[in-house]
């Protein structure tokens, strides 16, 4: 469904020091530097997959999504999306994809979302019966109710995002690019948007490529992740494997029914992450988890326990820190 080979995008950026003299000098002579936003990445995504696209700020995620959506011309390399070369922006290509971004909107600001929906019906040539069915389905899934008849400017950020998603999906794109779709939303709305994206993917078999700084989005939506840093691909595989490779340790939390006696946790290779009177959280290597838990259940007043992977934010921070230490 989506194939990327040695994709490169370089930008020429004008550099100038602050102050009046550098400003005047720049009128006559400009200095440019080349930013390697995307520097030779390759990957493939199959039909119906949900993939998380991760990386720190400036890693090249948005630039890559824009090239995949046909908004930017690559400096070099090959892209194929749904059988099309995106930058040619053929009509059939534009009808089979959509890019939804949390920072830009297609809804007409002073008109109700229903007007944007109607405009999209016309430009995407959606038959009226199909349009009515799809709209009813989206209104139901996203719980839009009467929102679509209120002027967009009077909607909350979360309500606008839900209407943006509806506007983006009316033509049932086969490939959906999501760039920070939950940015700025409260926790409840984030969950609602995540549920909707998963539901849409499962119901229509759409391919989803998602960037997000909210790791909950990625953990909930993307069984596979592609990680890029400084324009280069550094990981492509399952989220589970990434966590296991970078941070093989587990977090185990014991809720206690009584006071905790002094314990030498180091003999299990474990360290204390957090502790209060009724609870202690430990970090331990996955290979010694069973040993530690068996001992604790036998020797300590344990009422309950939870075992988790370390937070994804920490896993990624460690991944990037290691690469930068290695000088890559």
């Amino acid at each position: 469904m989506l194939s990327v080979r040695n994709l490169v995008k370089h930008y020429r950026v004008h550099r100038r020091r602050p102050g009046l003299l550098p400003a005047l000098a720049s009128v006559f002579r400009r200095r440019y530097t080349v930013v390697r936003a995307v520097d030779g990445i390759s990957f493939e995504i199959g039909a119906g997959e949900r993939v998380g696209f991760l990386g720190p700020n400036g890693a090249g995620k948005t630039t890559t999504l824009k090239m995949l959506a046909g908004l930017l011309h690559p400096t070099s390399g090959e892209i194929s999306v749904a059988g099309h070369v995106p930058f040619r922006r053929e009509r059939d290509f534009l009808r089979s994809i959509m890019l939804v971004t949390g920072q830009k909107q297609q809804l007409l600001w002073d008109l109700p979302p229903a007007e944007t929906f109607e405009l999209n019906r016309a430009v995407y040539e959606i038959p009226r019966d199909e349009y009515r069915r799809t709209l009813a389905e989206l209104v139901d899934l996203l719980d839009l109710g009467d929102l679509i008849h209120k002027p967009t400017r009077q909607l909350s950020l979360g309500e606008r995002m839900k209407c943006e998603l509806a506007a983006a999906l009316l033509h049932r794109p086969r490939v959906l690019f999501l760039d920070e779709p939950t940015i700025g939303l409260d926790v409840t709305m984030q969950a609602a948007v995540r549920d909707f994206i998963r539901e849409y993917n499962e119901r229509h078999g759409a391919t989803v490529l998602l960037t997000s700084h909210y790791m909950d989005d990625v953990a909930a939506l993307a069984p596979r992740v592609i990680v890029i840093d400084r324009g280069r691909l550094i990981y492509d595989g399952s989220l589970e494997n990434l966590v296991r490779q970078i941070r093989p340790d587990k977090r185990v939390t014991f809720r206690l029914e009584g006071p905790l006696p002094p314990v030498e946790w180091a003999r299990f290779g474990a360290s204390v992450v957090a502790q209060d009177e009724a609870r202690i959280q430990l970090q331990v290597h996955g290979g010694r988890l069973r040993e530690l838990v068996s001992w604790a259940l036998g020797q300590l007043p344990v009422a309950d326990l939870v075992v988790e992977d370390p937070p994804l934010e920490e896993v990624l921070s460690e991944l990037f820190a290691r690469r930068h230490e290695e000088g890559e």
Partner: protein, 264 residues
């Protein structure tokens, strides 16, 4: 050309937007009152004796016709394009399977009924005040009037679209538009009827594109050109339409290749 079936909906939604911005729209209408000021200035100059073949009444008819043409041929696409390219908003247009020029054109044309609300009463008042003898009596001329107004609008639109597309290359292209507008004010007949220019300059001005943006439809409306000059002018106007459309499309295509919406 399947997309043509979308145009009625694009026009309807564009009209809804124009109505939503009605306060701004009325302010814009008021800013196009230059011909009324010019009417007062030139009428005063012509009080003692006519300027060439234009006396007070002829000048009155000229500037009222100029006001009508200006109201019906206005466009604001250059400001929209420059803003959207700088802010990255253009991306949302590029994602839709319709050429952004067509979308901009529909938004601009959709405001025409509101503009007509102002232009038509002016036309009626002008007719009552000046008498029908100031207008062309040639039926062929009246067949050409809507076509010449459409040609004027298209040249205006594509010139703006070409300058707006330069926004892909330069940080701000509104200064280029200011230059265009300055030339328009002088050479289109908007502030000075072209026949008041010295003949040696007037001959050159006649073939610049600016005449076809305003003066030519006014000349046709008022019968200031004979049939032969009208047909020649019409052909020249529509050649300019094609030329500006090609230039705008070429700059747009080159700009898209160069588009560098770095980051967000």
């Amino acid at each position: 050309m399947r997309i043509l079936s979308a145009i009625p909906t694009m026009l309807r939604v564009g009209f809804s937007s124009a109505v939503a911005y009605r306060a701004e729209f009325l302010v814009w209408i008021l800013t196009t009152n230059t011909p009324l000021i010019m009417l007062l200035v030139w009428s005063s100059v012509a009080r003692e004796e006519p300027l060439g073949r234009m006396g007070q009444e002829e000048l009155g008819a000229y500037f009222l016709a100029a006001l009508i043409v200006r109201l019906l041929t206005g466009s604001w696409v250059v400001w929209d394009m420059v803003f959207e390219i700088r802010q990255g908003e253009i991306a949302m247009r590029l994602l839709r399977p319709v050429h952004p020029f067509l979308a901009y054109a529909a938004e601009n044309v959709a405001a025409l009924p509101l503009r007509a609300l102002v232009a038509l009463p002016v036309a009626v008042v002008a007719l009552a005040w000046l008498g029908a003898d100031q207008l062309s009596s040639d039926p062929l001329a009246w067949a050409f009037v809507p076509l010449s107004i459409a040609g004027a609008w298209l040249i205006t639109f594509f010139a703006m679209a070409a300058i707006g597309s330069l926004g892909f290359f330069w940080e701000s292209t509104l200064s280029v538009y200011d230059l265009w507008l300055g030339l328009f004010f002088v050479f289109s007949g908007y502030t000075v009827p072209l026949e008041l220019f010295p003949p040696e300059i007037g001959a050159a001005i006649e073939w610049l594109p600016f005449r076809f943006l305003l003066s030519f439809p006014v000349e046709v409306m008022l019968g200031l050109v004979d049939r032969s000059a009208m047909v020649t002018g019409f052909v020249a106007q529509w050649l300019y339409v094609v030329l500006f459309a090609l230039v705008a499309q070429a700059i747009w295509r080159a700009g898209l290749r160069r588009y560098a919406a770095y980051g967000g």
